[in-house]
């Protein structure tokens, strides 16, 4: 593998900052010690302020201990499945066997600190991006012996072991349980009592106890043969007969454990079953053996046969299956009657049901070369972490907080072996329809790591809780004993803080360094000749006029305007003036504010002046001949104006700044766009903008950049101003008010959203994770103030963040780990609030479980962020290689370590089946593509978006959705607020899916293409587009006419629904064969071959070749 060398330096899986427990002080600056909190009279109030008098002084304690089954009280145990290291003898994973390279990791801060450093210093992009270079040492046998998370696996046939005891294995197992028990015994008293917790878990399920005895019968026959199973008929839906044979074939005595989960063929059962099911099955069994039986791996071929049809017809997604968990138990009682018939005699559905629980769907082996049609018909939901149901029920919404691996590996070496990046993707300020808000004078937090109390802490007793991040035992404050929701006393575990993974606190004054700032908006507008030409001023002024009352804020809201060309123009809007006063400062070298008091004015008091100004502004510069642009000075002036209060600066720029400080030169050679070996100038040309951004960040000023230009503007340099000040960047290439109506509409809609959306000021965000894990690299727009504190002068609901993590210490004794993101901000109403998200994930110790929990979208999203960094610090080709290698490595690792049978073909677990496709899509994405002509600004903007957009939107930009829309029907349609929204199925991005007789909609995130086939159904043309024939489809059609036909309504409902799902406005482009947009439409046909890029199939072949090397 030629790329391999690249990998080695990367090893540095950053040792990163100390665990959360070590963080010395409160997260938010000088928060005084808890003890100093003053008891405020109205003691605590959850929205409905409870009368203090209702505190029940009575004896509250009794009820609490009385109910040991309370899952809430006994959280962490996870049904007494402590890390099953006992049989680990052969297991390669445990133990700190870090490869030497890892012993010398760069200091943790390196990667994150790269933001501080001069970006021009080529800094070997830090670590984690790469995994081990060397092929993993462990051979297949090793993997066999890795216990797949203890008893987790096939609970369904628990009895098997008792009836069919292969001596060795049973020995292993019997020895295991004691260890297991003692292990739990050593646990600190309290939550970890296995029986209790298990009991708690069983409760939710409605499992009839008798089911267990039955299982043996049905399974026994199948178990008998130990030898390799007959390579029976292809078990799953794939065509290759040999491969999918139950891996158990290899199973020599030790196998039981290995095969359990590894036997990837089992059609469906997602991992998530295992815990619950296992407990359900295992508990009633008198002894531990019952549980371990579960490990009997092998599924008789016959079984697989029967199950196949079921699978193929209804490929349930794991998430859906998880949802149905409790029901899977139901069929089992039915197995009783047959009394021991071979599995083949079971009805297919029964077999399928029981199989579900034996092998997770996520691990089903898929031969990518054979199965072409892998794309699910509907967008893929996020995988569900394999957690007990009661934990999962309250876990954080994946749209807000998502991990690349929903099962966290126990050790770094295990993670290295899996060769998948570990990280989190966050959308912390997402608009939420439901958000519990708590007002309380004391916010309960861990005393040592300052974690906010959350649903995943455990209550040792009524007075003490144990932090789930640092494991410190804390006291429950008196005030917390009262539950304002139920108005009862003595139930701290029922408080809203402990019931919701996402919650918002109203912060007491300890969280404020200064009084909350008012909402301050400053608009900095380019009014040079070029800008006037584009005509954007009209749109801007009109949008602001229309929405001026919707600007978030209160009576303190302030606004100001600055315009600039070669000079800076200020506008005095002081109350009492009859009309706005323009003040021109021509000394751009040493900028000063002419009248500091009256440039930023109270919007309520001076609304008329502001409206006057907005009405006159477009005409003011109509005749200007000034072509120069002194953007740098204008930014400095704006910074001076905003620095006393902080706020938001919106900069509109239409050309390359070419005067005064921060002037830039054109660095792009258009002729080199396609041919250049490597893309130059992805890094900023000057650090002026970065330095200014850091100053802004220090004064709580965020800069949002709107770039409307047809020329090269050096977004790579200009973008820094937003990147480090936590702003956002909008880019409208070739914006013109007449020539490009689609962009105008897009700009209009974006502006509307931008002006009216929620905003948080002077924010900071801290992400904590359980001791042992550490965060080392952040992606997004912000400034990293200390190792884990992100400074966000502004935070908006459309900003996404990603972080990379490494495992510092082995997570041996933990069943779950938690992550907490806390965002402290000032709302536009002057309230200081803290939004806390907590995510809980299971820890696993086998590779197969890690693979089963992989979230392919999150992985692709994180890889994209890493690749952007890599392109800037190293080179684009490096980044491309690294992405390809990421796919190769993880699939290689899967093949070598998880698969037990080597079969031909390119094999991937079902959960990663789209991984190569997404990687290929990334390689063909605007950011990383080579060979085709891509303007540098377009590329840089695409890169910004990959890093800044929340995952859901980024995925559309990576892999657009293609639908056929000329035959929309109401079948399977969604019904949202009385609108019927048809749901066409997703098509693969390949020209072969297009047909001349149809019309297709491609949703590429920021833009939608409606492609009309040459022989398109005339009905569609007339009913939806309102044109008689294909030839009369206008060239510049940007919206669908509102026709009163069913087809038109359906189409518009569908497109409108797609648009409503995202905060920005995707413009629609109707294209025909000869349309100018056809090229960009075709470039999104990712699975097809282009002059410079491989087709999907070729890419798979390439991967296969690399893997089998």
């Amino acid at each position: 593998m030629t790329h391999q060398p690249n990998y080695s330096p990367m090893q540095a899986k950053a040792p990163a900052p100390p665990g959360p427990g070590l963080y010395p002080s409160g997260p938010y600056q000088p928060v005084p010690p808890v003890s100093s909190y003053q008891p405020v009279p109205p003691v605590s109030s959850y929205q409905p302020v409870p009368p203090v008098s209702s505190y029940q002084p009575g004896p509250p304690l009794t009820s609490y201990p009385a109910s040991p089954g309370q899952p809430l009280l006994t959280r962490p145990p996870m049904g007494g499945l402590p890390s099953h290291t006992p049989p680990q003898s052969a297991s390669p994973s445990p133990g700190p066997r870090l490869p030497p390279a890892q012993a010398t990791p760069p200091p943790p801060s390196v990667s994150s600190s790269s933001y501080y450093q001069n970006p021009q210093q080529p800094q070997p992009m830090a670590p984690s991006w790469q995994y081990n270079t060397a092929p993993p040492p462990m051979g297949p046998p090793a993997s066999m012996s890795t216990p797949p998370r203890g008893p987790v696996a096939n609970h369904v046939n628990p009895a098997v072991s008792s009836t069919a005891p292969p001596p060795p294995s049973s020995a292993v197992y019997t020895s295991a349980p004691p260890a297991h028990v003692s292990h739990s015994a050593t646990q600190p008293p309290g939550p970890r009592m296995p029986p209790t917790s298990a009991h708690g878990y069983t409760q939710p399920g409605t499992v009839p106890p008798p089911m267990n005895p039955m299982a043996p019968h049905t399974y026994q026959p199948s178990r008998a043969p130990y030898g390799p199973p007959p390579t029976g008929p292809p078990p799953t839906m794939k065509a290759t007969p040999p491969p999918t044979g139950p891996p158990m074939g290899n199973a020599t005595p030790p196998p039981p454990k290995a095969v359990g989960t590894v036997a990837g063929n089992g059609p469906q059962a997602p991992n998530s079953y295992n815990h619950v099911d296992n407990k359900m099955a295992g508990l009633p069994q008198p002894g531990p053996p019952g549980r371990h039986l579960g490990h009997y791996p092998s599924l008789p071929p016959g079984y697989q046969n029967t199950s196949t049809p079921h699978n193929t017809t209804s490929p349930m997604h794991p998430a859906m299956q998880a949802a149905t968990q409790p029901y899977t138990q139901a069929p089992q009682p039915y197995q009783q009657p047959p009394g021991g018939p071979g599995p083949a005699q079971l009805s297919p559905s029964l077999a399928a049901m029981s199989l579900q629980s034996s092998t997770p769907e996520a691990l089903r082996v898929v031969n990518l070369l054979q199965e072409r049609n892998l794309l699910p018909p509907r967008p893929i939901p996020a995988p569900t972490p394999c957690l007990p149901q009661d934990l999962q029920k309250i876990n954080c919404n994946p749209e807000v907080f998502r991990s690349t691996l929903t099962s966290i590996p126990q050790t770094q070496s295990l993670l290295n072996k899996a060769k998948m990046p570990l990280g989190l993707l966050l959308h912390p300020f997402k608009d939420l329809s439901q958000l519990p808000v708590v007002t309380s004078s004391t916010i309960v937090r861990c005393r040592s790591c300052r974690t906010y109390i959350n649903p995943f802490v455990s209550f040792l007793d009524q007075r003490r809780w144990k932090c789930n991040l640092c494991y410190r035992v804390n006291d429950v404050p008196e005030e917390f004993m009262y539950n304002p929701v139920s108005r009862s006393y003595g139930e701290p575990h029922k408080r809203p803080e402990v019931q919701n993974a996402t919650i918002e606190f109203i912060a007491p004054s300890e969280y404020m360094l200064r009084p909350p700032q008012p909402a301050v908006y400053l608009f900095v507008l380019d009014v040079s000749h070029n800008a006037v030409e584009t005509g954007y001023l009209n749109v801007f002024c009109q949008s602001l006029l229309d929405n001026i009352n919707a600007l978030p804020g209160d009576s303190r809201t302030k606004v100001g305007f600055i315009t600039f060309d070669s000079t800076i123009h200020f506008y005095n809007l002081q109350e009492g003036l009859s009309q706005p006063q323009m003040l021109i400062v021509s000394d751009i070298e040493d900028i000063f504010l002419p009248t500091p008091d009256s440039l930023l004015v109270n919007l309520n008091e001076c609304k008329e002046l502001v409206q006057d100004l907005l009405k006159s502004l477009p005409t003011l510069f109509e005749k200007t001949m000034e072509t120069q642009s002194a953007l740098g000075s204008a930014l400095q002036a704006a910074f001076k104006l905003l620095s006393p209060t902080g706020g938001r600066m919106s900069v509109f720029q239409t050309q390359l700044p070419n005067l005064g400080v921060g002037a830039l030169q054109s660095r792009e050679d258009p002729n080199q766009r396609a041919s250049a070996k490597d893309i130059q100038h992805l890094s900023p040309a000057t650090d002026f903008y970065k330095k200014l951004a850091l100053d802004c960040s220090g004064q709580q000023v965020a800069v949002d950049l709107f770039l409307l230009s047809s020329q090269y503007c050096d977004l790579a340099s200009l973008g820094c101003i937003s990147r480090y000040s936590a702003g956002s960047v909008y880019y409208y290439p070739s914006y013109h008010h007449q020539h490009n109506p689609a962009q105008v509409e897009c700009f209009q809609k974006d502006l509307k959203r931008y002006i009216t959306r929620k905003i948080g000021f002077e924010a900071v965000m801290r992400i904590r994770c359980t001791k042992g894990l550490s965060i080392h690299t952040f992606h997004g727009n912000f400034f990293v103030r200390s190792t884990d504190l992100l400074s966000l002068p502004n935070v908006n609901p459309d900003a996404g963040f990603a972080v990379q993590m490494s495992i510092e210490e082995n997570l041996d004794d933990m069943q779950v780990v938690s992550f907490q993101a806390a965002l402290l901000y000032t709302s536009s109403k002057g309230e200081r609030r803290i939004r806390v998200h907590t995510l809980c994930l299971p820890v696993v110790n086998s590779l197969s479980d890690i693979f089963a929990g992989a979230d392919v979208q999150a992985i692709s999203g994180l890889l994209a962020c890493m690749a952007v960094d890599r392109s800037v610090t190293a080179s684009l080709s490096d980044a491309r290689d690294a992405m390809t290698n990421a796919a190769i490595d993880s699939l290689t690792s899967y093949r070598q370590s998880v698969l037990t049978i080597q079969q031909p073909g390119l094999l991937a677990p079902a959960c990663l089946r789209l991984f190569p496709l997404f990687i290929l899509a990334l390689l063909k994405q605007k950011s990383f593509r080579t060979g085709t002509s891509t303007r540098l600004d377009d590329r840089v903007f695409a890169m910004c978006q990959l890093k800044y957009q929340p995952l859901a939107y980024a995925m559309l930009m990576i892999h657009p959705s293609l639908y056929r829309i000329d035959d929309l029907t109401d079948e399977g349609a969604l019904n949202i607020s009385e609108r019927t929204i048809p749901q066409p199925i997703l098509l693969q991005l390949s020209v072969e899916k297009l047909s001349r007789e149809a019309a297709f909609l491609m949703d590429a995130g920021t833009v939608m293409y409606l492609w009309i086939g040459r022989n398109c159904n005339p009905n569609f043309l007339s009913q939806v587009l309102g044109v008689p024939s294909y030839a009369s489809v206008p060239d510049n059609l940007f919206m669908l006419p509102e026709l009163d036909t069913a087809e038109s309504q359906r189409t518009r409902a569908f497109i409108g629904w797609l648009r409503d799902q995202r905060p920005f406005f995707p413009s629609l482009r109707v294209i025909r064969d000869e349309s100018q947009w056809k090229a960009s439409f075709m470039q999104n046909m990712i699975e097809d071959r282009t002059e410079s890029a491989l087709s999907y199939y070729e890419f798979l072949l390439h991967l296969q070749q690399q893997i089998s090397k």
């Binding site: 302020v49 004054s509 009084p515 303190r556």
Partner: protein, 215 residues
């Protein structure tokens, strides 16, 4: 001119509204004063004098307490005291009108932050030297300004600590005096024994003398 105005509830020191004006030229660090102001609000209680000026270096804190609410104004020491108190009175009457009734019920800090707008406007009229002339009328109303107590901010903030220091010193003293007393007692007994011993020796010598020389 750098200034800081803060309104807080006296009962628990909860800040209700505040307004800050920073001056670029002075470049003073308001952060320090802000935390002092917060501490001060917490220290104040119903027993505190209801009008007071506290000196803090070249800045002065002026405050008045009325109806359970403290109005605090930080300004340069050179700013006329009269003016400062007139300003505080002005703010007080407006604030009480607008929010007075809601003060005891709020729990969120800076609940009335919107009052900031009024504060800024009022301050401008008091601080602006041209406007100041128009406010001549206030002079008469505020003759008692001279009687307002003046103290040092450090003293107020550290009053608690000073008392506790005094307490420790006193207890030290008393324990020392106890020790002295026991020591004195001991010495007394010792000297008494010594006297008795001396007398005894004398008599024994006398007896021996008489015994051997006289007999």
């Amino acid at each position: 001119m750098t200034s800081l105005t803060m309104i807080a509830r006296v009962a628990d020191g909860l800040p209700l509204a505040a307004s800050i004006q920073e001056d670029e030229q002075s470049g003073r660090d308001l952060q320090h004063y802000q935390s002092q102001a917060k501490q001060l609000c917490r220290k104040l209680n119903a027993q505190s004098p209801d009008r007071c000026t506290l000196e803090a270096g070249d800045m002065n804190f002026h405050y008045i307490i009325a109806q359970g609410v403290c109005y605090l104004f930080l300004c340069e020491a050179s700013f006329p005291k009269k003016m400062a108190f007139a300003y505080l009175e002005d703010i007080h009457s407006e604030f009480y009108d607008q929010y007075g009734r809601r003060v005891p019920t709020v729990t969120r800090p800076y609940s009335f932050i919107e009052f900031d707008t009024y504060i800024q406007k009022t301050k401008k009229s008091y601080v602006d030297s041209r406007a100041r002339r128009n406010l001549g009328s206030i002079n008469t109303e505020l003759q008692d300004v001279q009687r307002i107590m003046v103290a040092n901010i450090e003293e107020v903030l550290q009053r608690g600590e000073a008392l506790s220091a005094l307490d420790t010193k006193a207890s030290n003293l008393s324990s020392l005096s106890k020790k002295y007393r026991s020591d004195a007692k001991y010495l007394n007994t010792r000297s008494a024994y010594a006297k008795v011993a001396a007398v005894a020796v004398f008599f024994i010598t006398l007896i021996i003398y008489l015994r051997f020389w006289w007999l």
